[in-house]
Amino acid sequence: MEPVLELKNLNKAFGGLRVTNDVSFTVMPGDITAIIGPNGAGKTTLFNQITGHLVPDAGSVFFRGEDVTGMAPQAIVAKGMGRAFQVTSIFPEETVLENVRMACLARRNEARRPFRNISTFKQATDDAYAILESIGLAQHAQRAAYELAHGDQKLLDIGIALGLQPSLLLLDEPTSGMSPDERQLTRDLIVRLWKEFNLTMVFIEHDMDTVFGIAQIVRVLHLGHLLAEGTPDEIRNNPEVITAYLGEEVQ
């Protein structure tokens, strides 16, 4: 099987600070990978290099066998990489439906059509409603996105990424800012979406219940380099990881 994502010796420095230090790993189709690490470990910077927002100083990013290092974000996304954001990133004045439909239109290459009314694009509209059903926002379809509660806005952010039917979905702290109850719901939802859409996911997360609850593979970043990788159980019991990051939290 061809890996969905392959990072080869990625390096990035901001001035003298090495934020990504020789990071390499492979993501296979169907994997749910968690990336954990203390604040400043370089997790979001790593995401930014994968999605083309930042160009690595050295090393390369392969997406579905193709070298996408240094490509513009829109080019990489158009190849099937979806991303949801740590700080919710939606289109606040548009309706919930419109937010997701825009992504569905983009995937079908219809997002730049200048003449036909948007509601007559039946396929994209049906796709969008299907996603809204899956993420539980269908009843809010006609409301403006800014009216949604914070947790629902985070789900909408994921919904937009799903609209692209991504071969790889990157989630940056999907449960940040949520209450414990919302977290549990979001965890269940992510697992359900993973099955429903045959997703391959990489997510950054600080909430250990989420990490150990849904990830199959956990990778630990520390000061820019990959400290450890393995199954949740291996990571939980890895002495290095406990010293560097987990500390008392898991014991």
Partner: protein, 320 residues
Amino acid sequence: MQEKKSYLSEAFLVALLVAFAVVPLLHPSSYQIMLASHILVWGLFAVAFNMLWGVTGMLSFGQALYFGVGAYAVGLMMKHLGQSWFLPGMAAGLVAAIVLAILVGLLIIRVSGVFFTVLTLAFGQLAWQICFRWYHFTGGDDGIQNLIPPGLLGNRFVYYYFTLVVVVVSIWLLLRLSQSPMGVLLRCVRQNPNRVPFLGLSVRYSQLRVYVISSLFSALAGSLAAGVDNSIHTDMLYWTTSGEVILMSVLGGIGQFFGPFIGAGAIIIIQDYVGAKTEYWSLIIGLVMMVMVLLLPRGVVGEAQALKLWLKSVRRSNGG
């Protein structure tokens, strides 16, 4: 699931068409026709301008450039080649506007915010200077007079209906654009340009497209204006023309498709009625603008829309 599709905008456009179509029947004086023509031409100009600002969030302070290109394409061809070159002049103006908008657009959409605004102003003033100084070709400060459209179009009734049809069809095309996927994409570019690339779509390309489209219809409005006034002058390229279209949009409301059209009508009517009584009409416009911006920042149409929503929610909470 089926969406409710509203035909309110289409109905408004039809009402507009009918209202303007009966003007010459009720007031056959050339004065009233002139006033209505100005509202139509500036209304189109303002709606085209607002595709950039209100919809996409690109505040251009230089759309006079394209208004002037449209007008001068007609004027120069008629001056140098003859009266019959009116319609070819209009076509040439549209082509010139497209080419110019692509070239200028590629340079200026690299920057955003106030830098974009300043660059549009600079290009507009550059064109004005060239036109102003190149006396033997453009007529400089004298402008170009006696631009009577040829044949049937020379009749002021015929020309009025010609203007009406061109303006209504253009606004209809822009309305379709605003309701299309591209129109929603442009609104997305304004609301959250950082997310758009993560839909696999380019922000710059969308901005360039709307810049060209807006400029094209601005030029069309300018070329129609040449036939309305039978003359053109360098003021059409001056920054005050760009400023006026901004005022019109603010007054009518930049968040609503027809806002700028209403704003154009309001400003032209104020200018006309107040201007007939006092030479200080610009003071009145200034006061009106101040009140609008301070008290009713969503513009006439925007505030009306908000009032409607508010009444609806009051009724719902009373009834519920």
